[in-house]
């Protein structure tokens, strides 16, 4: 893992829970379904480690609600959806992220570099 990957990993680690809550806002989803939703938005977080421990923590902290239901022709799956506490945590987390991002942008905008996609 290069220095760039290491920094990306550290940056993501602090907001992965927000990302998971954000994709749950689209509707209840099971574990792998959330991974696919994030990938569709250009965010592959699986490389940073599995999402299951993170989902477990969200569940323990009552930020998500779970229910077991049948999936499309497959076995019953555990569906996660945001709880009212999770919604509040997401809103607060997004505010914190935006404030931090704006402050960091204010510092880094002084540096002129060519941004590669």
């Amino acid at each position: 893992m290069g220095q760039s990957d290491g920094r990306r990993s550290q940056l993501l680690r602090g907001v992965l829970d927000l990302c998971l809550l954000a994709v749950m806002a689209e509707g209840p989803a099971y574990g792998y379904e959330m991974t696919k939703r994030l990938r569709a938005r250009g965010l592959s977080i699986v490389g940073e480690g599995s999402i299951y421990p993170l989902l477990g923590r969200l569940e323990r902290d009552d930020l998500v609600e779970t229910k077991r239901a049948a999936s499309n022709g497959g076995p019953p799956r555990k569906y996660y959806s945001m709880s009212p506490e999770g919604k509040r945590a997401l809103e607060e987390g997004v505010r914190e992220w935006q404030a931090a991002r704006d402050a960091i942008d204010g510092a880094l905008d002084l540096v002129k570099v060519e941004v590669r996609p």
């Binding site: 099971y30 574990g31 792998y32 991974t35 699986v46 490389g47 940073e48 480690g49 599995s50 299951y52 421990p53 993170l54 989902l55 477990g56 923590r57 569940e59 323990r60 999936s71 497959g74 076995p75 799956r77 555990k78």
Partner: protein, 191 residues
């Protein structure tokens, strides 16, 4: 993949995760991996680099859910702060403390009983007034005086001695319980 799930199950069992919870986690994992493989992907698409460390993955997941009953010993050094004492450790410490109190009580009773016996022996031999009691109040006369042979041993009778022996035995039993509770934890952490 069955091997990965099997390793996870072993770890959950070691951590004391209840069977229904372990079954649920294993079923969710299996279903997700099956779906990824059916779509042409692999287990790595679901698990990322956790695929190569099932023990750590299983422990992290169970601990995050708060379903473990024993502390884990991760295979790799962790930077996480040390966990607080488990209930088992607290029980062992409490039992050890109780054992100490019981043994101390037995010793105090035993020594007190012996001192009273000696003092009463001296008073018997030297006559009244030869023994002076120090303390908050007058000494309680012995409940029963007995004489055994030419040494004129005098005591309070068997009451306090029996209590002292009882306390001592109780202390030993409680100490044994403390060791019983502490030993499995200590064994795991000495590996």
């Amino acid at each position: 993949m069955n091997e990965f799930i099997g390793e996870c199950r072993k770890e959950w069992q070691r951590l004391g995760v209840p069977d229904p919870v372990a079954n649920e986690m294993a079923a969710d994992l299996t279903a997700d991996i099956d779906e990824a493989e059916a779509e042409g992907g692999s287990a790595e698409d679901v698990l990322g680099n956790s695929l190569f460390d099932p023990q750590h993955f299983a422990a992290s997941w169970a601990e995050a859910r708060g379903v473990t009953s024993t502390p884990s010993t991760p295979s790799t050094p962790s930077t996480a702060p040390r966990r607080s004492l488990s209930r088992r450790q607290i029980a062992a410490a409490a039992l050890a403390a109780l054992a100490v109190v019981l043994v101390m009580g037995a010793l105090v009773l035993g020594i007190g009983h012996q001192s009273a016996s000696v003092a009463m022996s001296v008073r018997k031999i030297l006559g009244p007034g030869s023994v002076h009691w120090f303390g908050a109040g007058p000494a309680t006369p012995p409940a029963r005086v007995f004489v055994s042979g030419p040494s004129f041993a005098v005591g309070h009778g068997p009451g306090p001695a029996i209590v002292a022996v009882g306390l001592l035995l109780a202390g030993v039993v409680v100490l044994g319980l403390a060791v019983f509770y502490w030993a499995p934890w200590a064994r795991r952490h000495s590996k």
